[in-house]
Amino acid sequence: MKVSLTVNGKDVTADVEDRTLLVHFLRDTADLTATNIGCETTSCGACTVLLDGESVKSCTVLAAQADGHAVTTLEGLASESGEMHPVQRAFHNEHGLQCGYCTPGMVMAIVSLLKENPSPTEAEVRTGLEGNICRCTGYHNIVKAALAAASTPEGAK
């Protein structure tokens, strides 16, 4: 079937199998490989992207369901001039990543979290990240990064 999405501001249209998952559409059709697959069961959040501004796990959304909608991936987060989003910057400053595999999903989840709750407590950040698994950082610096990003004026953009 034919699917048309706006991905990071650009139109991507393709004929795909009906069963194509959004994550495969992003990776294989739009050739945006930052979004990773970690579990296929909606458990780990590595594939988190924004669908019309809200976080979704793209391994459990059909590309067809996203037809006509706008998707933002990690690649679309920095400004046009290449300046990192405050959440990306906070991950860098706070050592919020090690192997980097969960990172795109974590960053997108936190962008979405801060949109909903611009000044979360530590407990609220931890609850908000329940659906995202990281195996390297023990979450300590990811939580720090989320709180640091929240404290910047443009963190909840």
Binding site: H24, H92, G100, I133, V143
Partner: protein, 774 residues
């Protein structure tokens, strides 16, 4: 001021944070264009004979390229010759035999030994077609009695390898004696401690892409060591120099990506066999079925001492579950034996082990690999003994520590501890946690009859890092005539931050700014010789190698600078702060690195070294956990985790803290939530992340890290490994905290993971015993 010891944020991150890493599935190499997708047909039964494989329907399906079974593997060399069988006289110690009657095949030959064992390989033109086609491959099994546990293996009622005549792969050499070592002990505790099987669970599973072109096999694979992988991949029947292995970004390893497994060999073979580029990226389900898992030890312990808290004797008997194929055999329990007495100077220690095969996923290294098991049990045993003797566990630890002035210290098990100050690490943690205040609050809650109980758990640990110090690590440092430097390292980062750490070392030695230092790893064409990243060895061996190479580059550069200055070598010096060469005493004249390198042949100064250490290092520390246990539901909440982890001088505190955080979380996860489970037929019950309890941010607090730096003389950086400290210290601290919370109710031990039902049941049992005793 040297850059070493400062908080430098990682150079790796901007790329990972903006475009994402390039993991195997992200590779867009031209040679991989049109690569076929590989999907394994895996055994659905734990133990069975294969009586037939019918691929006819699969071969008719849309998208299929090939269906390969062991019958197609006629172009492979024979497996390595048989190694001797284990023998009780004298018993074999060390890695178990892995060939011969214990041989792990590539694709299953006529028998399967665990659910998930590869039986056939399907190649298709898309991922989705792969799953469809694999379902159409029909495999007939004749089931055999399953061996789903250590107990079943030891019963020898069903044998995985009938030709071996036993399920016991290897036995340790130190027999357990009679009970005379406990003579004179006033307090003796004896019991079983389970160190359960857990999944390594890197967020990126295993993944491999392979191309056979112009007589060369190129294999991109998610590994902790490209060079070892290349050696293993010679199993496809090629010499090492006909194989190039590349480790692109690797999404975590934790020991399970040391080298490559049979699947990666099969993928490499399939590319060569079919002439098509092949890519395989495992699903999480496959990962939880077939990536090697960790721990899986059953311990029988006995500990004795006097009523004042002096431990007199300790015995540890280990049975290692090796899973279906003994990848590391006796190696893991051998390390557990070696580290059995931990941080204590115990007059009499006995330890032994055996390793058995079961119808489960093979077990190999997982963050700590044999040492967490030792620490978990001695620390549990010490608390158990302390509770029985009625002495505060902190006091018992202090009474029995190896003292600072006793180092270097060789333990009763023969471990040559280099340096340590165990009491200082414990004191720091007790002070930072406000131990006495916590004990008072615990008492208050108990006396008030509150149901939210407080538990305080301690673990003082020592571990062995860079156990294979003699293998060392390689480094090549080049300085180019544009003033940049390139580091080639044989170690292989998969999240640790080697690129930042090694660039810092070069900057410290040569004064070349970090942004002009490139670090390259994980490509056997560029770095044919290397060892890799495991056993917390990278900084102490790989980092020392980089430093050694940088020093050699500096010596060579000094000669070139002298030529350019037309001065004597001894009159020129490197100003490492400014990154320029000078004539001593003449601040006006200087030469840049670009000028000095330009004076060398080909505009390049290069040093190629291997650094080896003559022995391992022994980092140590103390962890303190504070938990709340709901006595009515058994639910545990981890409130605080305070640690002092001493790995010598710190090169970059940010990286060190990151390693500790991750290890603590994994250690706490084993104590609280994680366990790989099988039913009585050997069917896995935890084969997706819906069922396997990976720990999340909600279950953990932020951690409280204290600093402690006791240098070693084993390497010039004075450093020890930090990568595995977290799992080694955290598991017993959390474990002890939960039992401490309910100890006044009569609970002496609860096996991990301490799920609400286990904790609740232990409370109920202890209460019932109290009632019946009254």
């Amino acid at each position: 001021m040297s850059i070493l010891g400062t908080r430098v944020i990682r150079t790796e991150d901007p790329r990972l944070l903006t475009s994402g890493g390039v993991y195997v599935d992200d590779l867009r190499e031209p040679d991989l264009a049109g690569a076929v997708r590989a999907t394994f047909v895996r055994s659905t039964v734990a133990h069975a004979l294969i009586t037939g494989i019918d691929a006819s329907a699969a071969l008719e399906a849309p998208g299929v390229v090939a269906v390969l079974t062991v019958a197609d593997m006629t172009d492979l060399p024979a497996p390595p010759p048989a190694e001797p069988l284990p023998d009780d006289a004298p018993p074999q110690e060390g890695p178990a035999p892995v060939g011969g009657v214990w041989q792990e095949p590539l694709l299953a030959v006529d028998r399967v030994r665990f659910v998930g064992e590869p039986v056939a390989l399907v190649l298709t033109d898309s991922t989705y077609a792969g799953e469809d086609v694999a379902e159409l491959v029909s495999v007939d099994y004749e089931p055999l009695p399953a061996v789903p546990s250590i107990a079943a293996a030891l019963s020898e009622e069903s044998l995985l390898f009938p030709d071996a005549g036993t399920n016991v792969v290897v036995r340790g050499a130190r027999p357990i004696g009679d009970d005379s070592i406990f003579d004179g002990c006033e307090v003796i505790v004896e019991g079983d401690v389970v160190n359960q099987r857990v999944a390594c669970l890197p967020m990126e599973g295993r993944a491999t892409a392979a191309v056979w072109k112009d007589g060369k096999l190129t294999v991109w694979t998610s590994t902790q060591n490209a060079q070892l992988s290349r050696l293993i991949l010679t199993a496809v029947g090629l010499p090492p120099d006909a194989i190039r292995v590349v480790a692109p970004d690797v999404g975590g390893g934790f020991g399970a990506k040391i080298g490559v497994d049979r699947e990666q060999i099969i993928i490499a073979w399939a590319a060569k066999h079919t002439g098509r580029p092949v890519r395989w990226v495992e699903t999480r389900n496959e990962n939880l079925l077939a990536m090697t898992q960790g721990r899986g030890q059953l311990h029988h312990i006995k500990i004795g001492g006097d009523r004042e808290g002096h431990i007199k004797a300790y015995r540890l008997d280990v049975v290692q579950d090796s899973g279906a194929y003994s990848r590391m055999g006796g190696f893991l329990p051998m390390l557990t034996n070696l580290m059995a007495p931990g941080v204590y100077d115990i007059p009499k220690v006995e330890a032994n082990y055996k390793a058995v095969v079961t119808n489960g996923t093979p077990i190999a290294a997982y963050r700590g690999a044999g040492r967490p098991e030792a620490a978990a049990t001695i620390e549990r045993a010490v608390d158990w003994y302390a509770a029985e003797a009625g002495v505060d566990p902190a006091v018992v630890r202090k009474r029995n520590f190896i003292k600072k002035e006793q180092f270097p210290f060789v333990t009763k098990m023969g471990a040559p501890y280099d340096t340590g100050d165990y009491e200082s690490a414990l004191d720091k943690v007790l002070a930072a946690a406000d131990y006495e205040v916590l004990r008072a609050e615990q008492k208050r809650r108990r006396e008030a009859g509150e149901t939210m109980l407080l538990g305080i758990g301690l673990a003082s640990y020592v571990e062995i890092t860079a156990a294979d110090a003699g293998a060392g690590e390689t480094a090549k440092v080049e300085v180019h005539d544009d003033g940049t430097a390139t580091v080639y390292t044989g170690s292989s980062a998969h999240g640790q931050g080697h690129h930042t750490a090694y660039a810092m070392i070069v900057t410290a030695e040569l004064g070349i700014p970090m942004d002009k230092v490139e670090v390259i790893h994980g490509d056997t064409d560029l770095i044919p010789d290397g060892v890799g990243t495991y056993a917390s060895r990278s900084l102490q061996l790989g980092g020392s190698a980089v430093q050694k190479a940088a020093i050699e580059v500096k010596e060579e550069a000094g000669k070139k600078a002298a030529e350019l200055f037309e001065a004597a070598e001894e009159d020129v010096e490197l100003d490492a702060e400014a990154g320029v060469w000078r004539i001593k005493g003449d601040p006006d004249k200087s030469l840049s690195w670009a000028q000095v390198a330009g004076q060398a042949d080909n505009g390049l100064i290069v040093a190629n070294v291997r650094f080896t250490a003559d022995r391992p290092t022994f980092p140590f520390g103390t962890h303190l956990s504070v938990v709340e246990v709901d006595a009515e539901t058994g639910k545990v909440t981890l409130l605080r985790h305070v640690t002092a982890d001493d790995a010598g001088p710190v090169l970059n505190p940010i990286l060190l803290e990151g390693q500790r955080h991750g290890g603590i979380a994994q250690g706490a996860a084993q104590a609280l939530v994680e366990e790989v489970l099988y039913d009585e037929d050997g069917n896995p019950l935890t084969a997706t992340l819906m069922d396997y309890g990976a720990i999340t941010a909600t279950e953990l607090p932020s951690f409280e890290l204290l600093t402690s730096e006791t240098p070693t003389s084993v390497n010039p950086l004075g450093v020890k490994g930090i990568g595995e400290a977290g799992t080694i210290g955290a598991t017993p601290a959390v474990h002890n905290a939960v039992i401490d919370a309910v100890s006044h109710l009569g609970v002496r031990h609860i096996d991990m993971p301490m799920t609400p039902v286990r904790v609740w049941t232990a409370i109920q049992k202890a209460s019932a015993q109290k009632v019946s005793a009254q």
